[in-house]
């Protein structure tokens, strides 16, 4: 591998999240952002003056504000600071975390603040998503981000009952986690007795994708503060180290339907990212290696399906993890102890929230949804665009280069 070593280490030292909800009419956008920013600053004890560069992102066609960083400058503490705005659809939060990593690792800045946010109730979410499609062709065919094709493939592969049960188990486990997370938008308090009823009676959206499987549309903001190794080690809380990350996009047209994935596999960015990232970091067995996985799971069908790809598993290995509840807090590899995207999806922030929640787990102070066993190695993913992925590895201790 001819790529160079990382210039210097970067620690996550401050994290702030607003409560996610569909009714934040009590704040305007800069106010909402400030809530998260303040929490992040309080978290690490830094002040406005310590921030050197701010990176900001969301999907502006949802709120229909052009260059929103200009208006948000006060709430986001940008006055007098360097500032860069990055947007990559649903993966924006992941790109923001990557930016925090680059900007500090490069030596250009010692302290960077990353802010992701969205206020979906101020816009038309499905309209915004449909506008992502090519204006001459796909925009007239597309309707939001809904598809039943994953459910169809899983049912074909595993049988209707097993597939539907797995998707519903995934859903209920995510809801159980959400009930522990005070910031969740939706925590229904589903119990296992409801599984059969919901499986069959939850209103259908597309094919076997039902309302119960699908993520929420939320308002919220997330702020994360990154620091160089030297500065990070001086903070009151132990920093969480960013080991590596990778981004993979794919073309806008789909060209993926018509053949069973098991027999005619179509390359997926989820698996590609996992393969590349783990190979270059010497990880052979991700299920063994990682202690937690905050996956960007916009629906329980996708969550169930991508588990296999992210963990480089085959056949029904990932399904078994769900069936045996190994993905629940207390299991072998807890997935989304925060409740995941199904429980809260403020799109521009969501991917950053996955990263932040994974970091909190490593730090040990996530709150009621903290995994009770030590978390040394964390994995966090982002999703967006036309099946794009960003994948992060976070570590509790430095010194992995020797590994």
């Amino acid at each position: 591998m001819s790529h160079r070593k990382k210039n210097r280490h970067v620690g996550v030292v401050g994290i702030g999240e607003t409560k996610f909800s569909s009714h934040r009419e009590d704040v305007n956008q800069p106010e909402m952002i400030f809530e998260a920013v303040k929490e992040a600053l309080d978290d690490c004890g830094l002040g406005m003056d310590d921030i050197e560069c701010v990176v900001h992102g969301n999907m502006e066609l949802f709120e229909m504000v052009h260059q929103p960083d200009l208006w948000h400058s006060m709430g986001a503490l940008m006055y007098g600071k360097d500032e860069i705005r990055l947007t990559t659809g649903g993966t924006t939060g992941g790109t923001l975390a990557a930016a925090g990593d680059y900007l500090v690792a490069s030596g250009m800045y010692d302290i960077v603040l990353a802010i992701g946010f969205e206020k979906l109730q101020e816009g038309h979410t499905t309209g915004g998503i449909t506008n992502m499609a090519d204006p001459l062709w796909f925009r007239k065919l597309q309707s939001g981000a809904l598809t039943g094709s994953t459910a169809y493939d899983m049912i074909e592969e595993f049988g209707e009952e097993r597939a539907k049960n797995a998707a519903m188990s995934y859903r209920i486990i995510m809801d159980e986690h959400a009930c522990l997370n005070p910031n969740s938008h939706r925590a229904f308090g589903l119990n296992w007795d409801q599984a059969d009823e919901l499986k069959e009676n939850s209103p259908r959206l597309v094919g076997d994708l039902r309302l119960i499987h699908m993520c929420s549309q939320s308002d919220g903001a997330c702020a994360v503060i990154f620091a160089s190794e030297e500065r990070a080690k001086k903070m009151k809380k132990k920093p969480v180290w960013i080991r590596d990350h990778i981004t993979a996009h794919r073309e806008e047209t789909f060209n993926v339907f018509g053949n069973a994935p098991e027999s005619a596999p179509v390359a997926k960015t989820q698996r590609f990212c996992a393969e590349q990232l783990f190979k270059r970091n010497g990880i052979d067995d991700p299920v063994e290696y990682f202690d937690v996985f905050e996956m960007y799971d916009p629906s329980s069908w996708w969550g169930s399906d991508w588990l296999r790809d992210f963990l480089l598993l085959e056949g029904d290995e990932a399904l078994k993890l769900i069936e045996d509840k190994e993905i629940a807090i207390g299991g072998k590899l807890p997935v989304c102890p925060s409740g995941g995207v199904i429980s809260a999806n403020p799109i521009g922030a969501t991917a950053l929230v996955r990263f932040a929640e994974a970091a909190k787990q490593v730090r040990g102070d996530a709150g009621p949804h903290q995994i009770p066993t030590p978390v040394n190695h964390a994995l966090a993913s982002s999703f967006g665009g036309t099946m794009w992925t960003v994948l992060f590895m976070l570590e509790k201790e430095l010194g992995w280069e020797g590994a």
Binding site: K6, L70, H72, G80, Y102, I246, E251, A267, G384
Partner: protein
């Protein structure tokens, strides 16, 4: 690891009023193929481009995730792609961090925009203002800049005549630039007779509607020689955000310009911009911004913008040999056009615009109204 990043190749299409015959993907391909050919760079995961940086804008493209349509065109299928949704000058700073961090050795940086696609630039920039107070009043970048123009002109003794000179010079320089938008040459009288858009900004003071695209290949110092013989170096980047409400600030203070240029200079090890930098490309969306940004970076004395023009400052300091943004670059892409000109000048490939003996150049871009956000990049031979 070093602290400078190589620009190994650059390609651009011509700035035009209306590229109706091509869509974004096609425009980009025309820029990307040449830079790949020039450098021999591939998308090989080990040795080649594995991360691509783009610059475009959702509102002007009328497309959520404006980079979504060009993924295949930029080669980002199963490669990384990140988008700067802001003035393209900042993409250079960001790409520097991608490379200096060690994450990526070589980065393809592209951008596209078509101002001609939208029915009104003003309707788009009106959306940059908050929906409660400023938007309903009808503020957009054009009329907001007019406030700044008025205050600045009074403070710095800049007159309608001075502005006319700026426009005339811009057109003359652009006529020597094969990639500049084709505009009619104008006389000072033409400029001063042109209609008022927003007093004191006249029609000919404002940059015209333009479509454009560009591509750069940037590389770490360790491997630059693999891709080109004589790279041009990015040695400094700084940016700065000012406050938002127009009434909160002194519109003539150049607060963010001063800070951004100071930060860029510091990173590049420059102590005195005026003495050490030989060429300047400033994003003058409106004519008054040329002397104003010049004051901000310190090549014109503060409060003396008018005199600076009268004394032939722009010519003497080699400012905007390309014709500047004033001749026509899309909003958000001017920074890249400024870097492109600095690059060509430092490489000695600026044709009959060539200034000899330039070792360091400064490129600038501005986002928002009244220069709320400024970005500055320093380049060296």
């Amino acid at each position: 690891m070093g602290n400078r990043v190589a620009i190994c190749a650059m390609a651009q299409i011509k700035n035009e009023p209306d590229i109706w015959y091509q869509r974004m993907q096609g425009m980009l391909r025309e820029c990307i193929k040449p830079v790949l050919d020039d450098t021999g760079a591939t998308y090989d995961l080990d040795k080649g481009i594995r991360n691509i940086l783009t610059c475009s804008d959702d509102v002007f493209d009328a497309r959520t995730i404006s980079d979504n349509g060009v993924t295949d065109a930029v080669g980002a299928h199963f490669r990384g792609e990140e988008k700067v949704a802001q003035e393209s000058i900042n993409g250079f700073g960001y790409a520097m961090s991608m490379i200096l961090s060690g994450h990526d050795d070589v980065v393809l940086y592209v951008g596209h925009a078509k101002e001609s696609q939208t029915e009104s630039r003003q309707m788009c920039t009106n959306l940059a203002f908050d929906p409660f107070y400023n938007r309903p009043v009808g503020l957009d970048f054009q009329n907001a800049n007019a406030f700044q123009a008025r205050e600045y002109m009074e403070k710095s003794g800049v007159t309608d005549e001075h502005l006319a000179e700026v426009v005339v010079r811009s057109r003359e320089n652009a006529a020597k630039n094969p990639y500049a938008r084709n505009n009619d040459k104008v006389t000072a009288k033409d400029v001063m007779n042109s209609a008022m858009l927003s007093d004191p900004v006249r029609e000919l003071h404002q940059y015209p509607v333009t479509d454009w695209a560009y591509a750069f290949i940037l590389c770490c110092e360790e491997r630059a020689q693999e891709f080109c013989k004589n790279p041009v170096w990015l040695t400094g980047y700084g940016s700065c955000m000012d406050s938002y409400f127009l009434g909160d600030k002194d519109l003539t203070s150049n607060f963010s310009m001063k800070k951004a240029s100071a930060k860029a200079a510091k990173m590049a090890g420059i102590k005195d911009i005026k003495k050490e930098v030989g060429l300047f490309e400033l994003s003058d969306a409106v004519a008054y911004q040329l002397p104003m940004w010049a004051e901000g970076i310190g090549i014109a004395d503060e409060g003396k913008g008018g005199k600076w023009i009268e004394d032939g400052g722009p010519g003497k300091m080699n400012v905007n040999t390309s014709g500047g943004m004033l001749n026509g670059n899309p909003l958000l892409l001017s920074g890249a056009a400024r870097v492109a000109e600095c690059y060509l000048q430092l490489k000695g490939e600026a044709g009959n615009r060539q200034v000899d003996g330039v070792k360091k150049a400064l490129a600038h871009g501005t986002t928002g109204a009244c220069g709320q956000h400024q970005g500055v990049v320093i380049l060296e031979k």
